[in-house]
């Protein structure tokens, strides 16, 4: 197979939120994935693959260098057999014995599961995806086989909201969500074109040129992983997260828990061991928007004023 050259993550112009959300997920694989909503051709797929390349899989934490994180694709045309796994027919016919062939979900264990156009997935595939994402386990009860495999993965989905919505249950499974747009500024757009052309002209030289930045990013991700468990959250900041969740009328508790986990991860990425107010507000912007309840005839909008007011009320107190 031809090794595909990947565009370096650090050289993607703009899309800071997307890069941050993805990086947070590889620092803390238990965060719960990211949903990228927006236009085509905004480096969504490039970013995911480029990130995976520089980061070792956390399953192999001890020997950092060797195995890098894999991106397992779940194509929207995938059949259920391929997703959950199936009996190996050839083997059965040749030998008369049952052998199970694990599916995409099992393959994605400890890796990134990337679903392009996740809103177009067939319903029954979404169902099995939900099953696995909930427990981190892929259970199979079919074709004479009862099996369960570990399937903990970073779920990364992309979608164009104009092609249909995501089911609420699946939406909530994504820890973070971000919206991406094409750059509106002329100079930025020019830069995007120029860099891409340079890359295509001579990928090796381009990658080499930015090798230092890539290494730097890699190192800060790895050291963030190391200090993640030491990050503490001041009591009143947990309360702040709770208030933000309550004021936005989100359902359930996943929102607050994820908000704190995200804030912790942001702190670790910035090499701090204590969460600060700013981490909470950055986390809220990633965690809250897709969990807002829909009101009739309104486009869902995320009101930063609510978050600011909660935060301000705390700062007055202190």
């Amino acid at each position: 197979m031809v090794q595909h050259k990947l565009y370096p993550l650090t050289e993607i112009v703009g899309q800071e939120n997307m890069k941050l959300a993805l990086i947070l997920n590889v620092i803390n694989p238990f965060l719960g994935g990211v949903l990228i909503r927006g236009e085509k051709g905004t480096a969504k797929s490039t970013a995911v693959r480029a990130l995976a390349e520089i980061i070792p899989s956390w399953a192999t934490k001890e020997e950092y260098s060797s195995v890098s994180l894999k991106v397992i694709d779940l194509p929207i045309s995938a059949t259920e057999d391929r997703v959950v796994g199936t009996i190996d027919v050839e083997y059965a016919i040749k030998t008369g014995e049952k052998k199970f062939e694990p599916g995409i979900l099992a393959e994605a264990h400890n890796q990134i599961l990337y679903v392009d156009e996740v809103n177009l997935l067939e319903d029954h595939i979404v169902d099995v995806l939900l099953d696995a994402a909930a427990m981190g386990v892929n259970m199979i009860e079919r074709e004479g086989i009862s099996h369960s495999y570990p399937a903990k993965f970073i779920l990364v989905g992309t979608m164009n909201p104009e092609e249909g919505d995501l089911r609420p249950q699946l939406l909530d499974r994504f820890a973070l969500s971000i919206e991406v747009y094409g750059e509106k500024e002329l100079s930025k757009r020019m830069e995007v074109i120029q860099r891409r052309l340079q890359f295509e002209d001579n990928p090796d030289a381009f990658i080499e040129r930015f090798n230092y930045d890539q290494q730097h990013l890699r190192n800060s991700i790895l050291s963030a992983r190391d200090i993640l468990k030491d990050v503490v959250v001041p009591d009143q900041l947990i309360e702040m997260a709770v208030k933000i969740a309550i004021m936005n009328e989100v359902e359930g508790h996943r929102c607050d828990i994820t908000m704190i986990k995200t804030a912790i991860t942001i702190a670790a990425f910035e090499n701090r061991t204590e969460v600060i107010v700013e981490d909470i507000s950055r986390a809220a912007a990633l965690v809250v928007p897709h969990r807002l309840k829909r009101k009739p005839f309104e486009k869902r909008t995320f009101d930063t004023a609510i978050i600011e007011s909660v935060i301000n009320s705390y700062q007055v107190l202190q």
Partner: protein
């Protein structure tokens, strides 16, 4: 492979019917030549907890099997040359998100108790939840160790309660009270009464009380009744709609809806008894509470969360294409296209002793071939065809249509519906909104709706018919539903022929294609020609007047059909 818990069996959504019931063990047959039955998931669940996450997403076939087995506790298998008969008695626990669709009332009834869970609203509690979760994720083993004593306490407590339970006796007075409550709630059958008493007993035992009191029954009713009392609301609501002294907005809509619905009702019951029941649940939701005298059960009405949207419409179709969930296998008719290898091998296994080897371990003959049966959830294709000519009230009409479309799309992900809009005016018919499931697209596309000009009714009908044909060609699983909003008066500059006659011809065509439809008449004023009503007759469509209707009742009418 992960270990299976000693007391809990999970039923994943990918489970096939054969897998749940059991079948022949082909490895064993091939090795020994003897048939051996391999037990299914239900056999493993015997005496344990059977847990189903997202229980509302189960396929119909699997749900039916569960319902039967839960009732009879017995499984009889006659397949692949094997007869087997075994018992399975399990404790059924299901969890679901009602946003994804509701359970049929029949299935609901199989669950003894019902709880509606919500997020905590207390800040301190929420904080605690976050902290516990973080502590757990940081150090699972340590966290569990910390809880060891509490868990042991709980275990003891349950053991004690179990012993107490056996000694509890039920007074006649308690039985009468339970029966009174269930009578008032109009629960079907006697399951609720018995469950009420059993639950009350368990509650008393858990509280370590030696006698059963009315209080326990009341507490038990909170769990036993909410999902069973659908009929009460429905029945009383019918009575109350006759009662003129109580008239609320909601009630008005309700009766409106009843009348719009009637033509569909017969068909509904024919198709599937369950559907009708589901739509009853839906109605119960909107029932105004003050109209109902439910002195005993009132507290539970509010707690019931079967409220929201009944899901009468979403249908599950067996699909012929190679898409959808594999639910079971069958003998193929003609040449098999989607082979169920597991079933095929199981069939072939039986004959291996007498077949000549061809080099493979298993020799498969074409008579062994089995085909997959797949199931797919589909929704409706709801197409609005609206008169956008310069007649009176066009602006208002359009805004009602717009909000109806947006409301329908709010639920589109749940019902798997697509909604589209075609208008006709000014010698043109335009597809303003391609049938879609996206609310964002609808908001964008419907920002401006051009109106004015004459009324090319026939052209509009033709465009709608063509659109429906095209979409059904691409995806035959969508059931089309046409909502025509017009006063029936047609005129056009381009067409030389008689617009009305042309319109009628297309109506017949639409009817012959068995497209369900509904006509909303916008005719107002003193002199009324009643053309839209005639049109509705041609269609075999249901009919109502625009002035009697608001956007939400359009949605209701569509939902109930």
């Amino acid at each position: 492979m992960l270990e299976e818990s000693a007391s809990l069996i999970e039923l994943p959504l990918n489970a096939t019917e054969e897998q749940i019931l059991g079948g022949i063990n082909f490895e064993h047959v091939l090795k020994t030549g003897k048939r051996k039955f391999q037990h299914g998931l239900l056999a493993r669940a015997h005496g344990k907890i059977l847990y189903i996450d997202e229980v509302n997403l189960l396929s119909n076939g699997v749900a039916n099997i569960l319902m039967n087995v839960k009732e009879t506790k017995e499984i009889k298998i006659e397949r692949e040359g094997i007869s087997s008969d075994y018992y399975s008695d399990f404790l059924l626990i299901g969890t679901m998100n009602p946003d994804e669709g509701v359970l049929s009332s029949k299935f609901l009834d199989r669950f003894g108790l019902y709880v509606h869970v919500k997020g905590e609203t207390d800040i301190q509690l929420r904080k605690q939840i976050i902290e516990s979760r973080l502590a757990y994720e940081r150090d699972k083993e340590g966290f569990c160790k910390q809880q060891q004593w509490q868990l042991a306490d709980l275990q003891n407590h349950i053991q004690l309660a179990k012993r107490l339970l056996a000694k509890l006796s039920v007074q006649e007075e308690i039985e009468r009270f339970a029966a009174e409550i269930t009578l008032q709630a109009c629960c079907e059958g006697h399951r609720a009464d018995l469950l009420l008493i059993e639950t009350a007993k368990a509650m008393a035992a858990l509280n370590q009380e030696n006698t059963l009191s009315i209080k326990h029954i009341q507490e038990a009713a909170e769990f036993v009744l909410p999902h069973r009392m659908r009929d009460v609301i429905n029945q009383q609501q019918k009575e109350s709609s006759k009662d003129e002294s109580v008239q609320t907005d909601i009630e008005n809509n309700q009766t409106e809806m009843e009348s719009i619905k009637e033509p569909f009702q017969a068909e509904q019951t024919n198709k599937d008894g369950e559907f009708e029941q589901e739509s009853i649940i839906k109605e119960s939701v909107e029932a105004p509470q003050e109209l109902i005298d439910l002195s005993l059960i009132e507290p539970f009405v509010q707690k019931s969360s079967i409220r929201k949207e009944g899901n009468g419409k979403r249908t599950r179709t067996k699909t012929s294409k190679k898409v959808g969930r594999y639910i079971k296998s069958k003998l193929p008719i003609g040449k098999p296209s989607d082979i169920a290898f597991d079933a095929t091998i199981r069939v072939a296994a039986r004959y291996q002793k007498v077949r000549k080897s061809n080099g493979n371990f298993i020799v498969i003959h074409s008579s062994d071939l089995r085909q997959k049966v797949r199931e797919k959830r589909t929704g409706n294709l709801i197409l609005f065809l609206v008169d956008a000519s310069g007649s009176m009230g066009v602006k208002k009409r359009m805004s009602i249509v717009k909000s109806a479309i947006l409301s329908l799309l709010q639920e589109a992900y749940q019902k798997r519906d697509k909604v589209g809009l075609i208008t006709f005016s000014n010698d043109e018919s335009k597809v303003l909104l391609e049938p879609t499931r996206s609310i964002e697209l609808a908001i964008k596309e419907l920002a401006e709706i051009p109106t004015g000009g004459n009324t090319p009714l026939a052209l509009g009908l033709e465009t709608a018919l063509n659109k429906i044909r095209l979409i059904n060609y691409k995806d035959p699983d969508y059931a089309p539903f046409l909502v025509l909003i017009t006063d029936g008066r047609a005129n056009s500059m381009k067409s030389a022929g008689n617009q009305w006659k042309e319109a009628i011809t297309i109506c017949d065509e639409i009817q012959s294609q068995k497209i369900k439809s509904m006509v909303i008449d916008t005719e107002t004023g003193f002199i009324q020609l009643g053309l839209a009503k005639e049109l509705a007759k041609e269609f075999g469509a249901s009919y109502c007047k625009m002035e009697d209707i608001r956007s939400d009742s359009i949605v209701k009418a569509i939902n109930s059909s």
